[in-house]
Symmetry: C2
Subunit: 207 residues, 2 copies
């Protein structure tokens, strides 16, 4: 099937959203934990968290500042701190429910039954049920004028991960943690490993 | 297990790369097809392609301009065109091999056995073996001074996808296309669907 730009432009908004959201491939599933300066906690599922660099350890995400993630963005700008919590198979439906529109004084923790926990005196709440989570210090945001989104960049500080998931070379077995992947707007997946492949060198041929 | 910032800073470069690359969750697996103004083709696997917006249809990716993806970045800046080709189970090891360092006049297509094809007179080559692929017009890049990477933004134009993978509401079944997901630097996964969840509304409870 060949879809032209004209074809895509003629789709209704919701269909186009499902269609275009499928194109990038599998997405990460993470819950962003924040709180405001009055201590109101907030939790939002974000499918656009991506690796930005290992040294310094940086993580990026795209936020639509007028979407249901608006409180998350405001809390990050105000406090400078947030947590990223990987979503696993046991909590994916509760995680998805955080994408509903709640008022500022309603906590998505209470609304979904996920448990807030505070670790090492970090200002923002973690998700107790997440098996790989870390504290992040806000570094900067870049406004993407092309569509009004914000690229939010943070530095990773403390990492909490289930025992036995970290392999000797530093690789973390996300499959063993039952971490889920997202496709499109609403489809959740667990995985089966094909292989870890060796560092690719020239003249080794393909394998 | 609790890893502090000091702990992370003390890891050797390779171990830290594996470790930090695992934190964001599952990553997309895409091959970026380009050619230079002399017609030399280039193909590079990129795990940082992400959805940026559906209207207009925009896609972003992070490129390290001095890495093996340097030719990709140069070709995009010079010609303004590239293709994005989802990696599936049949070609993941060849796709991984494109991350080896080849000279400018060596084509990763020839080196890995993947087939270049040209569709609808678009300037950049597609990967024939990919089952979901699209042409992209370069829009802009933003230099991320925090670590010297580049955010490359493009607009999606023509989409080519296997018959029967597109559902009535626009959702594309990536699992049916055998699209793979990446964890860390080198681990490839296929998926099993848990569920598609309904659009989340307040007061519906969790489900």
């Amino acid at each position: 099937m060949h879809y032209t730009q004209a074809h895509i432009g003629a789709l209704d908004t919701r269909t186009r959203a499902h269609f275009i959201n499928s194109l990038s491939g599998f997405k990460s599933a993470n819950l962003i934990g924040t709180q405001d300066d009055q201590g109101h906690t907030n939790l939002a599922i974000v499918s656009s968290v991506f690796h930005l660099g290992a040294n310094p350890p940086l993580v990026g995400m795209i936020i639509r500042p007028h979407s249901v993630a608006r409180h998350t963005f405001e809390n990050i700008l105000k406090t400078g701190f947030y947590t990223i919590n990987q979503v696993n198979q046991s909590i994916y439906s509760q995680a998805h429910q955080t994408s509903a529109r709640y008022d500022r004084d309603e906590s998505e923790f209470a609304a979904t039954g996920l448990t807030a926990e505070y670790l090492s005196d970090f200002h923002a709440p973690f998700v107790k049920q997440s098996r790989l989570k870390y504290s992040v210090k806000f570094v900067e945001h870049q406004h993407l004028a092309v569509n009004g989104t914000e690229l939010v960049i943070g530095e990773i500080s403390d990492i909490y991960v289930d025992d036995n998931a970290v392999e000797d070379d530093g690789f973390i077995d996300l499959q063993a943690l039952d971490t889920v992947a997202i496709t499109g707007l609403d489809s959740y997946h667990i995985t089966t490993k094909l292989a870890r492949l060796p560092y690719a060198k020239n003249n080794t041929g393909y394998f």
